[in-house]
């Protein structure tokens, strides 16, 4: 048990030490920089809510990756699924003016989730039917999805009130997510993400479906011999993954932005993969790992303003933590011997 926690902790520590060297190269004492990052991420009420707001979509895309990877579905397409989920919310939202919030919000979330699931269904069916590698198809669909969003917000869904800026029509006021803390951006999406993480955990560790999904991921031949319907299990697992990523987009639009642009996501889909790996694909670990990543991203913004170290240090640290995590996993799973 302690080994399961040791790997991510070692990884985070290793990544911090490595990035300390880089911060030093930028001419700033590393401890000062880390101190700035922490105080900018947690130093005030606003900072804390910003960090949690940033962690919310990461939790969902992280869960999307963790669910898929566990069944050995290499879904690299969470970014595209997020955008399609967001676009669906913008499109459906225009028809829902005047609806009660209790109807509009769940309907839009469902719509975003379904759209994300559908976008992953296509590469999944191609893999099951023709053996097409889903790493390639899901990755490339990301570009198609973002370009499609671009097309729509320049065209059919363009907001006429936006002074020519390419952005979608806003979701109606009824569909905006209630705030958790007044006069901040933090919304109930955070709670939804945490509840979903717990649900996914229960699904994976306690249910028959979770057992079968894991069996398919670990050994498809063995699973088939034990009577598991491989195709069906993979499709359901894949739809769950795509739905989580689509929901990330829906929630981001309904909770934070209010409309869709092509810079809605600063790579949440890709960072979600890092978050999932850092969590060793554990759904509850995803909650912690996304908080870690959000801390760095939010904290680095302020740290950059104060000390002049580029914000890219946050990306570098998160990326390094993935590498150190892989090394740490290697050391916790194998013993070095000669």
């Amino acid at each position: 048990m302690w080994l399961a926690l040791a790997a991510p902790l070692m990884a985070v520590l290793g990544a911090m030490i490595l990035s300390a060297g880089l911060i030093r190269l930028a001419g700033v004492p590393a401890l000062d920089a880390f101190g700035e990052i922490l105080s900018n991420a947690f130093g005030s009420r606003l900072a804390i809510t910003e960090t949690l707001t940033r962690a919310t979509p990461l939790m969902l895309t992280g869960l999307a990756a963790a669910v898929a990877f566990r069944a050995r579905i290499w879904n690299i397409g969470a970014e595209g699924q997020l955008y399609i989920g967001a676009l669906t919310v913008a499109a459906l939202g225009t028809t829902m003016t005047g609806w009660p919030a209790a109807m509009a919000i769940p309907m839009l979330m469902l719509g975003g989730a379904l759209a994300g699931a559908l976008l992953l269904l296509l590469p999944l069916l191609l893999r099951l039917r023709f053996g097409v590698d889903e790493v390639v198809t899901t990755l490339l669909l990301n570009f198609i999805a973002v370009l499609f969003v671009s097309l729509m917000i320049e065209g059919a869904l363009k907001d006429p009130m936006a002074f020519g800026w390419p952005q979608s029509m806003p979701v109606p006021i009824e569909a905006e997510l209630p705030k958790l803390v007044e006069r901040t951006r933090l919304h109930i999406g955070l709670l939804i993400a945490i509840v979903l993480a717990v649900l996914v955990y229960v699904l994976q560790s306690r249910t028959l479906f979770g057992l079968r999904s894991r069996a398919v991921g670990l050994n498809p031949d063995g699973a088939r011999f034990a009577g598991v319907a491989i195709g069906r299990t993979l499709i359901v697992t894949g739809c769950l993954s795509g739905a989580l990523a689509g929901l990330a987009g829906a929630i981001e639009v309904m909770g934070v932005k209010g409309y869709v642009t092509t810079d809605l996501s600063p790579g949440y889909g890709y960072t979600g993969i890092l978050v999932a790996m850092l969590a060793a694909l554990h759904p509850l670990g995803v909650v912690a790992a996304s908080l870690f990543a959000a801390t760095l991203f939010v904290g680095a913004d302020g740290m950059s303003r104060a000390l002049g170290v580029p914000t890219y240090i946050a990306d570098v640290t998160v990326a390094l933590s993935l590498l150190t995590m892989l090394v740490a996993l290697f050391f916790t799973q194998y013993r070095v011997r000669r």
């Binding site: 306690r206 028959l208 069996a215 063995g222 011999f225 009577g227």
Partner: protein, 515 residues
């Protein structure tokens, strides 16, 4: 007699290989405990022992994969530096591993040449290498097309490439780790002929095995290892199977004896069943309390037959009946519900999911059945209790319900698979190659269980390549050749010659063979 090529010159008549006091400990287990042995020039030494006796560890130390905790390895009078495979290769030691280390996407020649040329050299001396490979192949009768892709070769041919690779590196001491585990009997015969040839030409060979017949057939001298120690050494001419079996296991193995049976109603019946292009118009029937043995050289369609009856493959034509109803083809859950126990041919990939726990493996095929499932939730406590019961009842050793099944030995995994198939008192048991790769003790346990199932009234279908096994356990025997089944004969009328004829296809209509 000189060694081949430019191996290290060595003038004395002493042993070419001398291991002294080799000791190796892995954590709690003492894998090798002060093992000493010698090998003379032109000798075939068999290292006999059960799975886990420490044979492979010993050879890995000799070859430099492991560093021993104590003891020395001397090759032709010189002490080898421990933990240096290169030193072993330079001294003329060649190793053929149980699991081949060939690159499937390269040709035979390229595989053999790998590692013999400097990475920095400008060109590769393929023409010279080809001549040299040709020369070695002719000399030892190891013919393999040099330009064939390894991916296209059969297992037997791949092994020949491995041996060629060792010989190409000027090996004159050859270590073969379980060389026959993956071979058919015919391929094994051929390997033994090659070994005899090599011995005649002055090579020295260590041959690791747990198969008594083969050890007796191939070796001059036999060293028996048990629990990491040398327990006995015998000249092959001066010992027999019974003695070796007892030495290897440390106790007398009691082979179960088949009692007479009174078959009941027909359980499984096939009429003209064909599967893809591998099985053609099979006819057989099996009654309750009866054990039908399907014998044949591997690769004649046994895998497809096993998969069909285990519910992971469908027939193309013909009728297959189970308990007077259509056989639920491709429906594993229906088979399990109807009381069909299934032991797959490949326990590593089909029978068990290596990274899952013992309890998960124990219940996976019935995970949707009560009491293991309620409202979609896995009842882990019930499943753990069930696994513990299997472990107890079927004497599965090496780990509890929560251990990963990977940690168990092959024999114990097989006992668990058999156990989970037998625990529901199946009415039909499909056992495909159930003892392949197992040691004597585990084989006896599997045989006992199969006969026990039969005695309890189950119909048992045994698919096997082991003639002795089929003769000892079956009531009736059919042979499978090129996807067709021979007529069935009673075991009482079968002898080795009849079965040999059946396995060569002599009795099958439409197939003519010069026998």
């Amino acid at each position: 007699m000189p060694g081949i090529g430019s191996g290290v010159e060595f003038e004395a008549d002493g042993p070419v290989l001398e291991l002294t006091g080799i000791t190796k400990r892995f954590g709690e287990t003492l894998a090798n405990d002060g093992i000493s042995l010698t090998l003379a020039r032109g000798e075939v030494l068999a290292l006999l022992g059960e799975n886990g006796a420490g044979k492979t560890t010993l050879m890995s130390i000799l070859f430099g994969h492991y560093t021993p905790d104590a003891g020395t390895v001397r090759v032709k009078g010189r002490t080898l530096a421990p933990g240096r495979p290169r030193a072993a290769i330079a001294a003329g030691v060649g190793m053929v591993h149980q699991h081949f280390s060939l690159a499937a996407n390269l040709s035979v020649l390229e595989n053999v040449m790998t590692g013999t040329e400097s990475l920095w050299s400008w060109r590769s001396a393929r023409a010279d290498a080809r001549r040299r490979l040709d020369h070695i192949a002719t000399r030892f009768g190891l013919q393999v097309a040099p330009d064939a892709l390894v991916a296209d070769l059969s297992v037997g041919e791949r092994q020949r490439v491995e041996i060629l690779k060792a010989l190409y590196n000027d090996a004159d001491i050859l270590i073969l780790d379980e060389p026959t585990a993956v071979l058919t009997d015919q391929e094994a015969e051929r390997l033994f002929a090659t070994l005899r040839d090599m011995r005649a030409q002055g090579l020295s060979i260590v041959f690791i095995s747990h198969k008594l017949d083969q050890v007796l057939a191939a070796a001059d001298r036999i060293t028996v290892i048990r629990g990491g120690r040398v327990v006995a050494e015998r000249q092959a001419a001066a010992t027999d199977k019974a003695e070796l079996a007892e030495l290897m296991v440390g106790r007398t193995i009691e082979r179960p004896v088949r009692a007479a049976s009174c078959p009941g109603a027909t359980v499984l019946q096939a009429r003209g069943v064909s599967v893809d292009t591998v099985l053609h118009e099979l006819d057989f029937s099996l009654r309750a309390g009866e054990l039908l043995g399907i014998i044949g050289v591997s690769g004649n369609g046994q895998s497809a037959l096993g998969q069909l009856l285990c519910g992971v493959r469908r027939a193309r034509a013909g009728t297959l009946t189970l308990f007077d109803a259509p056989f639920p083809q491709g429906d594993v859950d229906a088979l399990v519900t109807l009381g069909v126990g299934r032991v797959p041919e490949d326990r590593g990939s089909d029978g068990a999911i290596a990274d899952m726990s013992v309890w998960e493996n124990a219940v996976l095929e019935r995970a949707s059945h009560p009491p293991f499932q309620r409202a979609g939730f896995v009842q882990a406590d019930a499943a753990r209790r069930h696994a513990a019961e299997l472990i107890e009842r079927f004497n599965v050793r090496g780990g509890g319900p929560d251990h990963r099944i990977q940690l168990l030995s092959g024999g114990n995994i097989q006992k668990l698979i058999l156990g989970r198939s037998l625990v529901g008192e199946p009415r039909l048991l499909i056992a495909a190659q159930p003892t392949r790769g197992l040691d004597e003790g585990a084989i006896a346990a599997v045989h006992e269980r199969l006969l026990e199932a039969r005695a309890n009234g189950a119909a048992v279908l045994l698919i096997s390549e082991d003639l002795d096994e089929v003769m000892r356990l079956s009531d009736r025997i059919q042979a499978i050749v090129k996807g067709r089944l021979s007529d069935s004969i009673d075991t009482g009328q079968a002898d080795a010659r009849t079965l040999g004829l059946m396995m060569s296809g002599a009795s099958i209509d439409g197939v003519t063979h010069a026998v």
